[in-house]
Subunit: 326 residues, 2 copies
C-alpha cells in the first residue's frame, strides 16, 4: 500500500488540469493552470510533471506513492504503437512516443488517451451515461469530437482513431474544413462555426440584427451571444442556430442509424445552452431516424463538464489496476 | 452425435437459399427456389420448413439429426426481444416473434439475424475479411445495407438495429428516400438509384446517350447497362456513375473517420462491376479520410457472393454450439 496513488492529467490547449486520487478514485488534490503551449512540447511535458508534484504537495503526500499516470489530450493517438501522431496541444511535435516520454518523466506506467474518448468513458461510468452499455459522447465546442462506448468500454477502432464525428460530411457543398473536405459537421455546427456565421452576418452590413450592436460593444461575437440574441427574438441569430442544429441533427440521425446506441451524451461549451439546443435535436432524431432505433435512444446533456476527461482517465487507470490484479 | 446437422436459410425477397451442413460447417446439400412472397408470411414459413426437408432428402439424412437452424433476412430484428419488427421479405407481417414461430416449425433452436449482419460475419470469417478484427461490410444492391464487425463479431448496437449505412444522409437536398428523409446514401448510390437516374436521363429526350437505344432494345435500364455504356464512353452514363460513386465515397469516408476500421468489404450486385467501381472509392478514402485512418484501411470486393448470408449463419450457429460446450 506504499505506492497506491494515481494522477490524471487533462492536457488542453489552454489549460492543464491535474488531479491526484487514490485507487478507489477519491480525489485528494487538484490543480489547474494555463498550458505553456507557446514554449514547445518539452516545456509542456515538464509542466505536466510539475503539476503532479503540485498535487502531491497539496495532498501532503510523498511522490514515491505515485503508481500510475493517465493523460488525455486532443489528437490522433495510435493506441497500438503508443505514438501521438499529431496533437494540436503539442505544437510542432508529431509522431511522438508520448507514453514512453511521459514514463521517463514520471518513472511509473503512463496511459495516454484521446480526450473525447476519456470524456466519453467518464460520462459513461460517472456522468450522464450511467447504466447505458452502448453510448456516444459528442463534444460540441471549438470543434466537434466524439467518443464511442461499446459494451461499457471505449471503442477505438483498429488503431485508435475512431470517433471523428466532427469530420462526418453532412453538407457536401458546405464550408471548407481544416481537413480539406467541404461540409464536415464541425464547419457548420461547432462553436467556431456558429461564431463565424454571426460575424459573416454582421460584416455584410445590410442585415438588421442585434448582433451588430453586440459586436460593437463586446469587440467579438461568441456562441453564447448568438444564443442570447436568438432568445430575444433576433431572427438572424435564430437562423444561424437553426442551421447549426439542423446539420448536427443530421449527423446524430446518421449515428443513430449506424450504431443504434442506447444513449447520446452531448457535452462541450455549445451544449451549455441546454434545452434550446437539445430539444430540437431530440425532435430530429424522433422524426428522422430509423423508427426502431429512434424508439430506444435517449439524448442527454453531459454532466461532468471539465471533470469528464480526468474522471475518464481515473476509470481507465482503475481498469488497468483491476486487470493486473486478476 | 445423433442430431449434429445444422441448416442455414437465406430468406431473400425473390429467392430462398437453404444449406445443410455438419457442425464443422461442411455443406452436405443445398436448395434454391423462388420465394412465395405473394402468398403471405405463413406460406413463407412453411416454405422455409419445406426447403429444410428438401436438403435432408438430398443428403440422404434423417431430419431427426437437425440440431439448429439459422435464418437471415432483410429487416429490423430486435435482438433482445427476438422480434422481427419489420421485414420487406415477410410482407404485411410486423412485430413477429420470428425465432419462436420458426422453433415451433422446426422443433429445434433457431437463430434469426439481419441479412447484412450475416453476410458481414460470413465475409469476415471465410471471405474477403479474413484476418481483420474490425471491419465494415457494405452491400450495394437494390438498397444499401451494412454489417459492422467489431473484434471479430457482429456489432448490433443496443437492440439489434445497427448498420443502417444506407440511411446515412450524404446530400441533404437530394432525392426523397423511402424512410422519409432526403439524400440518404441509398437514394443516390444503390443499384435502384443508378437505374432510376439512367431512366430519368433518357426520359428527358433531349440528351444524346446510348442509354436511349439500350432502353428501346431491352425494355428497361439496369445498373450493368449503365456500367457498359460508361465503359464505351457514354458521358451521360459516366456522369451518373460518377455521382453514385462520389456520394458512396463520402459515406465510406464518414465510416472510416467514425469507426477507423481495418477493412471495408463491398458486396452486392453493383460491386460486381469491380475495379471501375472500387478504385475511385479507394482514391476518395485516401484523399479525404483522416490521414491516420486512411493509412490503415483496405477496401476489398466481397468474395462469397450469394454464399455470404448462409456462411454467416453457419458461423453464428457454430459459435452458439461452441459456447454451449464451454
Amino acid at each position: 500500500m506504499n505506492n497506491n496513488l494515481i494522477a490524471a492529467i487533462d492536457l488542453g490547449g489552454t489549460k492543464i488540469y491535474t488531479v491526484l486520487a487514490d485507487v478507489q478514485g477519491k480525489i485528494l488534490a487538484f490543480t489547474r493552470e494555463e498550458t505553456k503551449s507557446t514554449q514547445g512540447s518539452d516545456a509542456i511535458i515538464r509542466q505536466m510533471a510539475s503539476t503532479v508534484h503540485t498535487v502531491f504537495e497539496q495532498a501532503g503526500q510523498s511522490t514515491s506513492r505515485l503508481s500510475a499516470v493517465g493523460v488525455c489530450a486532443a489528437g490522433f493517438f495510435d493506441w497500438q504503437k503508443k505514438i501521438m501522431i499529431h496533437s494540436p496541444n503539442l505544437p510542432g511535435w508529431d509522431m511522438v512516443p508520448l507514453e514512453r516520454e511521459l514514463e521517463e518523466q514520471f518513472g511509473v506506467p503512463v496511459i495516454v488517451e484521446n480526450d473525447a474518448n476519456a470524456q466519453a468513458l467518464g460520462e459513461a461510468r460517472f456522468g450522464a451515461g450511467r447504466g447505458a452499455n452502448d453510448q456516444i459522447f459528442i463534444t460540441v465546442s471549438t470543434g466537434i469530437g466524439a467518443g464511442l462506448i461499446i459494451d461499457g468500454n471505449i471503442y477505438r477502432g483498429s488503431k485508435g482513431f475512431a470517433g471523428e464525428a466532427g469530420h462526418m460530411v453532412v453538407k457536401p457543398d458546405g464550408p471548407v474544413c481544416g481537413c480539406g473536405r467541404r461540409g464536415c459537421l464541425e464547419t457548420i455546427s461547432s462553436g467556431t462555426a456558429i461564431a463565424r456565421a454571426a460575424h459573416n452576418a454582421v460584416s455584410d452590413g445590410k442585415i438588421r440584427t442585434s448582433l451588430s450592436a453586440t459586436l460593437a460593444r463586446e469587440g467579438k461575437l461568441t456562441t453564447p451571444h448568438v444564443f442570447q440574441a436568438a432568445q430575444l427574438g433576433d431572427t438572424v441569430a435564430k437562423d444561424i442556430l437553426a442551421e447549426a442544429i439542423h446539420y448536427l441533427g443530421i449527423g446524430l440521425v446518421n449515428l443513430v442509424n449506424l450504431l443504434n446506441p442506447e444513449m447520446i451524451i452531448i457535452g462541450g461549451g455549445v451544449a451549455e445552452a441546454g434545452e434550446v439546443f437539445l430539444h430540437p435535436l431530440r425532435e430530429m432524431i424522433v422524426h428522422n431516424a430509423i423508427p426502431p432505433s429512434a424508439a430506444v435512444i435517449t439524448l442527454k446533456k453531459a454532466e461532468l463538464g471539465v471533470e469528464a476527461g480526468v474522471t475518464g482517465m481515473l476509470c481507465a487507470l482503475s481498469d488497468v489496476c483491476a486487470s493486473e490484479e486478476e
